[in-house]
């Protein structure tokens, strides 16, 4: 990507995934992700591993996080880990988050679609994220039809409500470009300053980044790919924004989020 300023732009993909080890080619695929990052100028990838089937069991999410921890060692400084949990296993989820963040240097929590994020079962996880000063990356999307595969998927409105309850939480609304009607999502988050919006997803609709910046402000956008690598990089490169705003989105904002806990 072009650097429009002499200042080094740090590029942090806030939304990436490593492969579940049940896939025989997981090692090659993980290596390809890092190679893609090299080609595209991505300095760091914030990754989680999800169970192939949800809802995840406690054993299932622990195993995923063990593999993420291994990858953090293998690709030290490049791969940062999110701890994935299913809040339905409350005691195990809380223990797992502490184990991952306090003992293994994970940078945040990944929540998927087991529960809508404003359900009370999620609150203890949010309270722990606040205590540990780590962000929660919430899988999200808003469609104008019932998503039978994901009946409890969260959307921007749920995240806004959660943020109102916990204004000090650092919440990230996942993949605005992979979760349905992005105009709806951006508008739903307009009055939720505690929620960051992740730009990832395969959709490359012209104007999405500019609208998000205009309504939410550049300080609330986080660059991400969610494995749609050229889409992720391309849409931000193309967006008609100032170099200063782009620097924030490429990685400045995520760096600030990571620094809340002291990660560099």
């Amino acid at each position: 990507m072009s650097q429009s300023s002499k200042e080094k732009t740090i590029v942090i993909d806030c939304h990436a995934h490593l492969e579940h080890h049940s896939k025989p080619d997981w090692q090659d695929n993980d290596r390809r992700l890092l190679q893609a990052g090299d080609k595209l100028g991505i300095d760091r990838l914030c990754c989680s591993i999800l169970t192939p089937r949800r809802p995840a069991t406690a054993a299932g999410f622990r195993e995923c996080n063990d593999w993420t921890a291994d990858a953090m060692k293998r690709f030290r400084g490049r791969v940062l880990g999110y701890c994935y949990v299913n809040p339905g296993y409350q005691r195990e989820a809380i223990e797992e988050i502490r184990r991952c963040v306090e003992d293994r240097g994970f940078i945040g929590i990944k929540l998927y679609n087991e529960y809508t994020c404003n359900e009370p079962v999620v609150f203890p996880v949010v309270e722990l994220a606040i205590e540990l000063r780590v962000p929660i990356l919430q899988h999200a999307g808003h469609a104008h039809y019932f998503n039978k595969d994901q009946p409890r998927i969260s959307d921007g409105g749920h995240l806004a409500e959660l943020s109102q309850r916990y204004p000090e939480a650092m919440l990230i609304c996942g993949h605005v470009c992979g979760g349905g009607d992005w105009e709806w999502t951006i508008k739903a988050l307009r009055n939720a300053p505690g929620v960051y919006l992740d730009t990832s997803g395969s959709v490359i609709d012209e104007g999405v980044i500019e609208m998000a910046t205009e309504l939410l402000g550049a300080d609330r956008l986080l660059f991400g790919c969610d494995m749609s690598m050229t889409a992720g990089v391309g849409k931000l490169r193309a967006a008609n924004l100032s170099a200063r705003d782009k620097r924030k989105i490429w990685g400045g904002n995520m760096k600030r989020v990571l620094q809340a806990r002291g990660a560099r």
């Binding site: 893609a36 979760g179 959709v203 609709d205 012209e206 494995m227």
Partner: protein
């Protein structure tokens, strides 16, 4: 030289498009170093009478024919399509067709569609088929328009071997018969890259290997899409300069019978 085979003018029914006039699109192309673009009417996707969209595009590109290459959106299930086709070719000088079978409520195997495609072949016009107009997940509550199934396209290629096809806004070719010479399909189609991966799964690379570099063409989907993702795909693709030039413009120039 870059030729974009996947661009549009006009309005889309479900969200505002910017850069959607000839002047606006050309400015965007200039910013990205894109020399020429095939354009069709975005409005014609949802107009009942798609010819109204063709008329709008014809008027828009009139003073920009050196750079904007108009394609006609023809709905073969709508009355008077034969007249519309004749008008688009002979009066407007349009250089190809775009078909929206799902939006316009017909199948590629329908006799009316075969008639249209055979007529296009007679006129030596390439037929462009967008697999989708926009991502399904963001669709309006008013419509549910599925992607065009690749199997249906395969059937059309076989049924009309003399026609020439341009498959745009698609994905998953590498895992279908369309993605390999071994399937024995007539070599009468090209695949546009805007939705294909060039890293990780690297569908572009797979198609170059399995189908041959002469079958891939560059496209962006402007102004529905940002153009940069497609440009980045070409930049990061592990391929020779010669192969990239084929994808960037040479294959499209051949398809369009452009003087080199």
């Amino acid at each position: 030289m870059i030729i974009d085979v996947n661009a549009y003018l006009g309005h889309f029914a479900f969200r505002p498009l910017r850069h959607n006039t000839a002047t606006g699109l050309l400015k965007l192309m200039d910013r990205q170093g894109i020399d020429r673009a095939i354009v069709s009417s975005a409005s014609a996707i949802t107009y009942r009478n798609s010819q109204a969209g063709n008329e709008e595009v014809a008027a828009e590109v009139k003073r920009h024919r050196g750079r904007l290459i108009p394609f006609a959106v023809i709905n073969p299930s709508y009355s008077g399509w034969q007249h519309d086709l004749k008008c688009c070719c002979e009066e407007f000088g349009m250089k190809g067709l775009r078909l929206y079978p799902r939006w316009h409520n017909y199948k590629l195997s329908d006799p009316c569609c075969l008639d249209l495609v055979n007529e296009a072949a007679e006129r030596d016009l390439p037929v462009s088929i967008p697999i989708r107009a926009e991502d399904q997940r963001q669709r309006s509550w008013l419509v549910e328009v599925p992607d065009v199934p690749l199997e249906e396209i395969t059937g059309l290629l076989k049924a009309c071997p003399k026609a020439r096809f341009l498959l745009i806004n698609g994905i998953g070719f590498a895992k279908s018969p369309l993605g390999t010479r071994k399937a024995g399909l007539p070599p009468n189609y090209c695949i546009e890259i805007s939705r294909l991966s060039a890293v990780l799964g690297n569908e572009v690379g797979q198609l170059v290997a399995d189908l041959g570099p002469s079958r891939l063409v560059f496209g962006t989907g402007m102004p529905f899409n940002y153009p940069d993702p497609a440009l980045i795909k070409l930049a990061v693709l592990d391929a020779s300069r010669q192969v990239k030039d084929m994808i960037r413009w040479r294959n499209a120039a051949g398809l369009l019978r452009l003087a080199r």
